[in-house]
Symmetry: C2
Subunit: 350 residues, 2 copies
Amino acid sequence: MNSNQKTKLTEISQLGEFVLISKLTNFNHIKHKSTIKAIGDDAAVIERSNKETVVTTDLMVEGIHFNLMYTPLKHLGYKAVIVNLSDIYAMNAIPKYITVSIAVSNRFSYEALVELYAGIYTACELYNVDLIGGDTSSSEKGMFISITAIGEGEKENIVYRNTAKPNDLVCVSGDLGAAYMGLQVLERETDIFKSTPEIQPDLSDYDYILKRQLKPEARKDIIEILKLNKIVPTSMIDISDGLSSEILHICNQSQVGCEIYEERLPISDETIKMADEINILPTIAAMNGGEDYELLFTLNLKDYDKIKEFKEITVIGHITELNQGINLITKDGTSAPIIAQGWNAMDEHR
Amino acid sequence: MNSNQKTKLTEISQLGEFVLISKLTNFNHIKHKSTIKAIGDDAAVIERSNKETVVTTDLMVEGIHFNLMYTPLKHLGYKAVIVNLSDIYAMNAIPKYITVSIAVSNRFSYEALVELYAGIYTACELYNVDLIGGDTSSSEKGMFISITAIGEGEKENIVYRNTAKPNDLVCVSGDLGAAYMGLQVLERETDIFKSTPEIQPDLSDYDYILKRQLKPEARKDIIEILKLNKIVPTSMIDISDGLSSEILHICNQSQVGCEIYEERLPISDETIKMADEINILPTIAAMNGGEDYELLFTLNLKDYDKIKEFKEITVIGHITELNQGINLITKDGTSAPIIAQGWNAMDEHR
């Protein structure tokens, strides 16, 4: 963006929809032979496959899901793709195609959209996904990004939320709460900037948690590890609204209870440091902070030996009978019911 | 809406996202055995098929694509689905699944969304389509509806835009320009209402053109006729931005020219009447009025006998060599190049 800011920016209305689409899709690189037709017709065409098709869609709205005060457009485009891919991986499937629809007000230039699409294309390259369609429109106010991701999975290997069984182990990938802590840094610095714009913030201490908020990754690697080790989780979900919310989905849909151990929650040092700074418990960030895009899954006990070596997978508890409830066992050994505070509570901050 | 308006309306924020989704999807009725999982997991799952998959997506934005001053929410939901299905039919394929993402500001009540979804479900029932996923969000201003439709077609029967050949016949379904004339009525009456709200308009004379604007249909019947008569068009597109714009797409992508005969353009009496009233040429409405959602297709001459009986299909011209240009032959016999005035020109009015 820096070099563009010095040159004259192009108003989108100068281009018209067809020219705009053609310019933005110039950079599109089709990787799958199965993409028979991508952009340029009434619809995209995908070759038949001997696998099941998996479809998910996510909408990101300016002022609700992102704040352009501190979100670089390239990161935003990247993240908008990632949140969808994460949902496909959470089915134990492989994403292959996306469609991208955007609406933007006239305060966005053509160059701004090029940045946004640069992020989208980067995610497509890294995750081996084809952009096969989309729509662009103006909006009266704000930016809207609606992405649909389509993937493939083998019927017998697709994993749902409603199939966890008592005695299964509860596992998570990576660490929890960092994206939420990154958001706290960004909002704090934005407030400081608003009151004293001459102060240049030094954010280098917060690299990890900022990256988790601004440029999250989807856990393709975990799905590959599971496949390589012939492990099919008994249930799985991605953590977008916070661990509390997601474990409740799995337990409620599977009609089971669970015990999650506070001391087992994987939390990074950077998350703990920031939580201390703003005086909240790291456990609260891990349980209720959203946007980690880690995978939460349950495993049959027999698979424990296969995963215990993987640092990126942590066993955080086990599934119980329904009547035992959905509980967090705190560090002092007491049991407290887990309550969803994810979406509603977090959303006010986004 | 009338009965609801008398009762207290429910604010969406009172419900929260999960309750809202669960209430709205209560009415969802899954029709296809191939829908293994619809709403309720990280992604929907569709059974493998021996056909190609066809995917399209369309975004509708308040203030750009629709005006809630005169658009009933139920019609809006219906139309938002139809515009996507029309794109699937335009590939000579059959739509089977949709995802629906919506963002609404807090001026919309839960009851308003129920109306919108009633229209979405009605379209799903009539066109035999399953709602398999979606997302809901708040917006700072206005309503956004993003729908992705997924369909199936046999590889050898899928029809593209870039395969028209010289001497092919150019055909359209139904009639043209009516949706644009309906829009003119609605905008005129809205202006009158704004200046003199006590006047109750009598719109009964405009039934047909209003229906074409507010509650269009996708031409499922034409695709069925073609199939029944073993006709595969040589190229096809749906008319969403006006005939001029669409014939240019076909000719440019196929590297051919065409001659379209003004006297052959199918225009309804109601469209002609309204065009007279507002003093524009019916041909202009037919060529450049958008949102007809008719099919424009080209046929090999050998298929002419098979379609000449169908009132809903009109031959409007033929494909020529590239160097002969893309021309309208007017009623007085002169030839004029066709210029796209669809999207950009129309968009100012939407």
